[in-house]
């Protein structure tokens, strides 16, 4: 854990230093009249100080056994899900809720859940339908509309 503590402490130290700088630029003010940067400035100092303390502590700590945090885990699965989710957010507003969500669910069921094609297709369809029912119909949330939604709306308009 020593190695990982060092990495994380350096990260938090740099973040703390950045916050100190930001706090300073926002105007710290005085103790009698604290400015908008007062809280940030001191919080940054506390964070930087604590990260140095933990870094020093980690440096002198004895480590009985070094264990890799990525050992025995299928780390590519969270990564794959992350990539799929980012792609989903990108296409979400462009393609609309129905199509983008169907693609997302299909990818998740098929490639990360290792389901068969018919199960994945059916699962994706049901997930999209119930999600639409809950959020769009039930909770009146304005989900982005794409080609499929517009087609459905115009079809309903013609019919009724």
């Amino acid at each position: 854990m020593k190695k990982y503590d060092r990495i994380s402490c350096i990260f938090w130290f740099l973040f703390g230093v950045y916050i100190i700088r930001e706090g300073y630029t926002y105007h710290i003010g005085t103790v009698k009249e604290p400015g908008p940067g007062f809280f940030f400035f001191w919080a940054g100092w506390v964070l930087a100080g604590l990260s140095v303390f933990t870094l020093v502590k980690a440096h002198f700590a004895e480590e009985k056994e070094f264990k890799k945090i990525w050992e025995a885990v299928q780390w590519y699965k969270p990564l794959l899900i992350l990539v799929i989710s980012i792609v989903y957010i990108i296409i979400f507003a462009r393609l609309g809720f129905v199509l983008s969500t169907f693609v997302l669910m299909l990818l998740l069921f098929k490639f990360t859940g290792s389901r068969k094609w018919p199960t994945s297709l059916l699962g994706s369809f049901l997930a999209v339908f119930f999600c639409w029912l809950i959020f769009d119909v039930g909770l009146k949330c304005q989900l982005p509309k794409g080609a499929i939604e517009n087609l459905l709306i115009s079809w309903l308009k013609i019919r009724y």
């Binding site: 908008p36 964070l47 859940g113 290792s114 304005q142």
Partner: protein, 500 residues
């Protein structure tokens, strides 16, 4: 007279069909996520929060509170049948609950869990009803220094109770304080850490942060390793405990309920600690402590009563002081704020329908849970068999859509994913998310109280020490922070003595 009038008001609020429906949904979802290992009440409340935006504030809070105490009921099912705790608060239930199941006594174990939870939950609601109005009356005298010190104490206790390193927990609380300050400054109107992004002007939303820090890491951790669950397959019979079981458990239930309530009230306490403490106390009180861990019914009754009683206890500081004693309550505080209600000493006076409605919903919710948990146990066992590869895409979808619906913004979806990755890395690097989220929620109030106190005292920090309540809170906070150093100092003093 007033008291009964208020009770009636509460029941008239909760018996409204819409509120009743939300209560039912809340406790049902709570039990469901309690049964399913891999998703906790914090994540669920965060995920469900957007679903309450169109509801009235009372309905929303009733539902979200129902998720919390419903999860306490459901968590025991997996502990007993699978030996995997559904919630952190059900970890100790595994010790004797699973042993009872292996001895063919899964029915009485589940039964006493449900009854113990019901009794614990109901007793704690009675205590909440009696204590909260008195505390709210005292809290009206609280000024900014008292609030600041009390919030410092709340965060400190949570840091003190952190399972990992205390400096790391303190770091996370500081990060939470910084993140909570993002957005336009309440006093000067100056934007801070907004990077000229309009979505950040109102700060980072609680919904994507909470979902990201609790929902996504749980999901990632569950899919990165394939864990096989072994479910108790035999038919579950005899859910009603026998007279002997009742005699063995009655003391445990009462002691567990008392411990649970008081530990729930304390900042940083909550269901998990209550269950552990009540188990330890029960073992000490027992005539046969050596049998604990082999399948004794007291070992199941005490922690289950305690974790439910802790929910009522935790409501006390939230509803009367506006200070959440634990993470779930911090998220619930966020929900109150989203609905434009500030919990605190004036809540009972200004929104009696809200306060008494919540109290009444907890009575009713406990009854609903008893009905849901005993006759429907077969359904919960079947739900346990749903494979995770089917569940996780749905959880992810709810996280993504939920964070979008908070502000109809895809930016919040990115925020949620970003905090998801941060939360996942924090787990890997052994940093806890609980102090972060609590400090994040309290940060705006803390900053405001600090600045107001300093303006009031003309920059004199002694304002925090000269006021007794504030001084008391700060002294306890300092003592808690310093206490881990005492054994080290003692050890150092002993070494020279031994050498001499």
């Amino acid at each position: 007279m007033d008291f009964w009038h208020n009770i009636l008001l509460g029941f008239s609020v909760i018996l409204d069909p819409v509120n009743l429906f939300y209560c039912l949904i809340g406790v049902f979802v709570g039990t469901l996520i309690g049964v399913l290992p891999g998703i906790g009440p914090s994540a669920t409340i965060a995920i469900l929060m957007p679903a309450t935006f169109k509801a009235s504030p009372v309905s929303a809070i009733v539902m979200l509170a129902g998720v919390y105490y419903g999860a306490m009921y459901g968590g025991s099912t997996t502990s007993i049948l699978v030996n995997i705790p559904g919630e952190g608060s059900s970890v100790v239930t595994c010790l004797d609950g699973y042993q009872m199941a292996r001895q063919g006594r899964a029915g009485p174990a589940l039964g006493i869990c449900a009854f113990g939870s019901f009794i614990g939950g109901t007793l704690s609601v009675i205590a909440l009803m009696l204590v909260a109005p008195q505390l709210a009356r005292i809290a009206t005298d609280f000024g900014p220094p008292e609030y600041f010190s009390l919030m410092i104490l709340g965060i400190t206790v949570l840091i003190f109770l952190a399972s990992g390193s205390m400096p790391k927990a303190l770091m996370m609380a500081t990060v939470g304080v910084i993140l909570g300050g993002v957005g336009i400054d309440g006093i000067t109107g100056r934007p801070r850490l907004t990077f000229q992004i309009p979505d950040l002007a109102d700060g980072i939303g609680l919904v994507p942060v909470a979902m990201g820090l609790f929902g996504i890491p749980e999901l990632f951790e569950n899919i990165e390793q394939a864990v096989r669950r072994e479910i108790y397959e035999a038919k579950i019979k005899g859910l009603l405990p026998t007279l002997r079981d009742w005699m063995d458990s009655k003391g445990a239930i009462l002691r567990g309920s008392t411990i649970g309530f008081f530990l729930g009230v304390l900042p940083g306490g909550g269901a998990i600690i209550s269950s552990f403490v009540s188990y330890a106390v029960e073992k000490k009180f027992s005539k046969h402590p050596e049998k604990f861990g082999t399948g004794v019914i007291e070992g199941v009754a005490a922690p289950e009563s305690a974790n439910n009683a802790a929910v009522g206890g935790a409501m006390v500081p939230l509803l009367t002081l506006g200070i959440p004693p634990n993470v779930v309550m911090a998220i619930l505080l966020g929900a109150f704020m989203i609905h434009g209600i500030q919990p605190g000493p004036l809540l009972i006076k200004d929104h009696p329908d809200m306060f008494w409605g919540i109290v009444a919903s907890m009575y009713l919710g406990n009854i609903i849970l008893l009905i849901l948990n005993l006759p429907l146990i077969g359904i919960w066992v079947q739900i346990l068999k749903i494979p995770y590869p089917i569940l996780f895409p749905l959880i992810l979808l709810f996280c993504l859509i939920g964070s979008y619906t908070a502000n109809n913004s895809t930016f919040d979806m990115y925020i949620m994913l970003g905090f998801g990755v941060l939360g996942y890395l924090m787990r890997k690097f052994k940093y806890e998310a609980a102090p972060l989220i609590l400090a994040y929620v309290l940060s705006p109030m803390m900053e405001m109280s600090l600045r107001q106190s300093l303006i009031l005292s003309k920059g004199d920090f002694s304002i925090f020490i000269l006021r007794p309540i504030s001084a008391g809170c700060l002294v306890i906070a300092v003592m808690l922070l310093v206490s881990p150093l005492i054994p080290l100092l003692k050890k150092r003093r002993l070494i020279p003595k031994e050498e001499s």
